[in-house]
């Protein structure tokens, strides 16, 4: 059989991963040397994450934020990026400015720190935090909604959207337009048609 081995066979065979057999009688005849094992381990991709790992997030305007992984994975988007191995150096978030990202991180930190409120006090504390959290100007609130959606943080999306929904409650179309600076771009005919459709509700 050895006779049939030609140079082509030998070239394909890579010696790189073979354990080396030193000649000296004291060294092992089989297996890998310690340095080989150490080298192998350092090149092996590790997915074991220690509990104190931090993640670096980069906002659209280039600012970096270092956060605990437990806080970062409140965002399903970031969680999936870490799981897919895209979080080597830092995670770029081109849709989120530093102003909004710092607020989002503040929210996630608070919600991670507060244990899933069995205690009445903790629950009340969280509720009051949430109430204060959304006391921001309209523009920031809108940006928080978009960020919560992009980062896929359900509780933040619910909180911010509910806040805006409460602003809309009880308002007429004209009042809504005023509140959110929306232009009425219906033609008179279109507007009449929509008004007639909903006449049962408003007249």
């Amino acid at each position: 059989m050895l006779k049939n081995l030609n140079s082509k066979h030998i070239q394909r065979f890579s010696y790189k991963y073979l354990p080396q057999f030193p000649i000296s009688p004291n060294s092992p005849k089989l297996g890998f040397s310690r340095s080989q094992i150490a080298n192998y381990r350092s090149n092996f991709p590790t997915t074991i994450m220690s509990s104190s790992k931090t993640i670096v997030l980069r906002s659209s305007d280039g600012e970096t934020f270092e956060v605990d992984e437990a806080v970062a994975v409140e965002s399903q988007t970031i969680k999936h990026m870490i799981e897919d191995g895209c979080a080597d150096t830092s995670i770029p978030l081109p849709n989120v400015t530093s102003k909004i990202l710092s607020k989002v991180i503040e929210y996630c930190k608070k919600h991670v720190e507060t244990p899933n409120a069995d205690e009445k006090v903790a629950e009340e504390d969280l509720k009051s935090f949430d109430a204060d959290f959304v006391k921001v100007d309209q523009s920031t609130l809108f940006d928080l909604i978009l960020a919560a959606n992009y980062l896929n943080i359900k509780s933040l999306l619910d909180l911010t959207c509910q806040t805006v929904a409460d602003m809309i409650k009880g308002k007429t179309p004209e009042e809504i337009r005023k509140t959110f600076n929306i232009k009425n771009d219906f033609t008179p005919e279109e507007e009449e048609e929509v008004r007639r459709e909903n006449a049962w509700a408003f007249e």
Binding site: C161, V164, D185, E190, W200
Partner: protein, 133 residues
């Protein structure tokens, strides 16, 4: 931040995400504010999957016919229906909605003293009980 001038009066993107959180009368008001919302509400099924009528003053304006028209926007996939003070809805009207939306799992009408919470899960429990044999 003056979003009005940059968007030419177009509603902010985030407002579309708020639509599923609105009760019925607010949804209708949004549809009347501008073309973008009117189109969004005509074409998108998501805001119509969970209908909440919690307007105590105007709840009585909802008739069976109107209820059918509104719930039909979910194209048979209505998930929940919550009615407060809708005194002009009949049991038949409610029944028709449930029949047309077999996947519905919450129907709550304070006026009718009808509490069919998790109807779907109750039905599926029955199914499982009978299938095991």
């Amino acid at each position: 931040m003056d979003q009005g001038s940059s968007n030419k009066g177009q509603p902010h993107e985030s407002l579309y995400l708020v639509l599923p959180y609105l009760p019925l009368f607010e949804l209708l008001a949004m549809a009347q504010t501008c073309k973008s919302f009117n189109d969004a509400l005509s074409n998108d099924i998501l805001p119509w999957l969970n209908i909440v009528v919690d307007d105590r003053l105007r709840g009585s304006r909802v008739t069976d016919e109107i209820l059918m028209k509104i719930t039909s926007k979910a194209i048979g996939r209505l998930r929940s229906l919550i009615l407060v003070n809708c005194v002009n809805i009949t049991d038949d009207g409610l029944q028709n909605v449930i029949v047309n939306n077999p996947g519905i799992n919450k129907v709550w009408s304070l006026h009718h003293h009808v509490f069919l919470l998790t109807l779907n899960s109750f039905m599926s429990v029955l199914n499982i009980l009978f299938q095991i044999d």
